[in-house]
Amino acid sequence: MVGITSFGAYIPLFRLGEGTAGWRAGVEKAIASFDEDSITMAAAAAIDCLQGKDRKAVDGLYFATTTAPYLEKQGAAVIAEAVDLRTDILTGDFGNSLRAGTTALRSALDAVKAGSAGQVLVTAADLRVPQPRSEFEPVFGDGAAAVVVGTENVIAEIEASYSLAHEILDLWRPAGELFNRSSEDRFATDEGYSNVLPRAVKGLLEKCGLGPGDFARAVFYGPDARKHRSMAARLGFDAKTQVQDPLYNKIGNTGAAAVFMTLASALEEARPGDRILVASYGDGADAFVLKVTAEIENLPPRRGVKGYLKSKRMLDDYLTYVKWRGLIDMAPPVRRPPLDPPSPAAIFRERDQNIRLYGVQCNRCGCRQYPPQRVCTKCHTRDDFTPVRFSDKRATLFTYSMDSLGPTPDPPLIVCFIDFEGGGRMACTMTDRAVEEVRVGMPLEMSFRKLYTVAGIHNYYWKCVPVRD
């Protein structure tokens, strides 16, 4: 049996919505922090997805996004390191279309079916920047979701799939431009979304001899909440009992991750025997029939959409958001010399300690230390260590300072010494925090972030965050 063996999600902490000064859209949506991008969010969803799974058993990682931080340089390779997968795996990026996620899913399905991979992790994320006050601004949200496709402990068998290609200029973002462009709405909808998605679903159902009544849940893409609602009727699903809420009024449309996010929601509530329809749209459509198995009840707990949805903080003001997206050029808090670029050779050499967040444990005295050392800080034994992954360890705040003048779009910069559960100390910064909650002893977890971008280098590393429970 081939199907989905696990799922996970990541929704950034911050929201624009009620209470955000200057936000007029009337909806709530998730927005990535200034130090997040599609790579960091995809890594977070992948980690959520791999709860209770052996990370070293994953044979491939596909990353789907329309907002890749690099045009030339693979995102999946960075994510695979951050998630601490093996290196003898197939990694690939899927992009340029809102259905990149389901296309990656279809490819993973084919790879596993063909026996070329045992388990493939597919993680989708998007951070589309809508033009301020554009029609897209109330709609686009940031987030990520992931699934693993495999043959063992399948929680949802993929019974069938169906795809259509469809060439149309309905929504596009040319290379080198930040904002989306779109054609006239009636044309775009009539000849794009409303034309293609129903045909794909129809094709799939005919292929399997199923009707809308055979599905417990329908997970499908919608450009926005209104169009999503009207599609339900067109496809013949009951909006109340069958259609999975895409949470557009809570998270927003997360682009290439949107269908995965909705699927994760559906799987959180699914019961054995449930059939789920999954259909995505973007320059064509991909559709799948899933059947939930009894294994779903053995899935270890995870945050998922539910967990991340309830852990949130409203952004105080819209200006902060605009600043975080780099849409206005604010003066830095204090005059400082510009950042020097990091050394690619050093980043390469330190990839295990920086991206996998490996420290070491001394085989002689047991002392855990970060970053890895050649000579043990305690017993001075040389080169006799076992690597320890700290990225999944909880920590407590040992001490901190709040730098009012620090180089951050979100002052004050909280610089910390943290102590990991099970031993080990790290100096790092804290993100996604409310200043008033910071105190010695507070519980923390690690989050993969982009420290800064200098000379075209996105320098990824880990920060600590207050535990998101």
Binding site: P337, D340, E350, D403, V415, R425
Partner: protein, 395 residues
Amino acid sequence: MTGIKDRVAVVGMGCTRFGEHWDKSAEDLMVEAAYEACEDAGIDPGDIQAAWLGFNYSLGTARGTMLSHALKLEYIPVTRVENACCTATDAFRNACYAVAAGIYELVLVLGVEKLKDAGVSGLPVSYAPMWGSRVEPPAPAPVQFALAATRYFHHYGLSYEEGKRTLAKIAVKNHRNGSLNPKAHFQKEISLEQAVKAPIIASPLGLFDCCGVSDGAAAAIITTPERARKIRDDYILVKGLGLSCGARQAVLQDDYDMVHFEETVAAARTAYQEAGIKNPREEVDLAIVHDCFTITELLIYEDLGFSPRGGAKEDIDAGFFTLEGGLPVNTDGGLKCFGHPVGASGLRMIYEVYKQIQGKAGARQVKKADIGLTHNLGGWPGHFTCAVAIFGRRD
């Protein structure tokens, strides 16, 4: 090991005013400090047999020739030393060893820093390695030392307000001392309220918790005690020198308490041993220590054995470290008010001890000045270089 006690004498010293010398170059500062020292010792710059030069930030060419060129020294050896905030003291220490070894008899040690051309406030420094992966927290000095302040407050159960007031008293004391010093960068007294309410730089440290960033130079002429006796009556003697380098223990070891700096403890142990000091609180008459931040001075009280562990607050409240107290600290205003041209500071401290022992400290002269101590701390918690030097009146 015989130690350095009574084997080297300081016979002349010079120090520029510290501050924002927009109209002076590093060369100007070096010439002023060196000539003052030579005149004080009654020697000609041409008599100098070897020199040690300390500075941290590039003066164009990071070499000993900077000093040769400024003073027109004729082909004598000049060694450039750089060891963070201990630079000048370490240059002094190495020069002492050359004199004690009998290699040279008349040596110039000079520390200089020209910071204010950098165009930024604070130190023009990135704490990341020049070509590293640059993932370390961007934490300039105030941030690093604030880490210790937060932990000290927590460890000893001081509320934020109590902690702030305790630190503020150190700033008030150093401002008062600075107001009595015509060479200090800042010569104004401040009130406790002013210090407590100052804008936050890196919480819990505010503006008055942080030392000045200055231009300046200081110099010493050192020789053997035998030669010193021929030069002047009131030379002073080196009694002990200690230097200690940390190995990032505070970051690598999760049981490191961060309410003390072991590097200070270790450097002081060496210096006390050489000087034969058993009870520093009683035996040291004055100390000029590295108050880059008020919290640093507080920890130094405990690390040097002036106050018991956790007892600094009580001594601060009692005024123990004021000019009139039992052990005056930073009589010249300290880094806080005299200023901190990094590579010159160690020699500026020795300059104050020298003047105090000679009884030439003017309005800030302490009653008893037989044994004086200087202390530098370079780097940040977990990664310090610490220098301690002890001086005494000639026998």
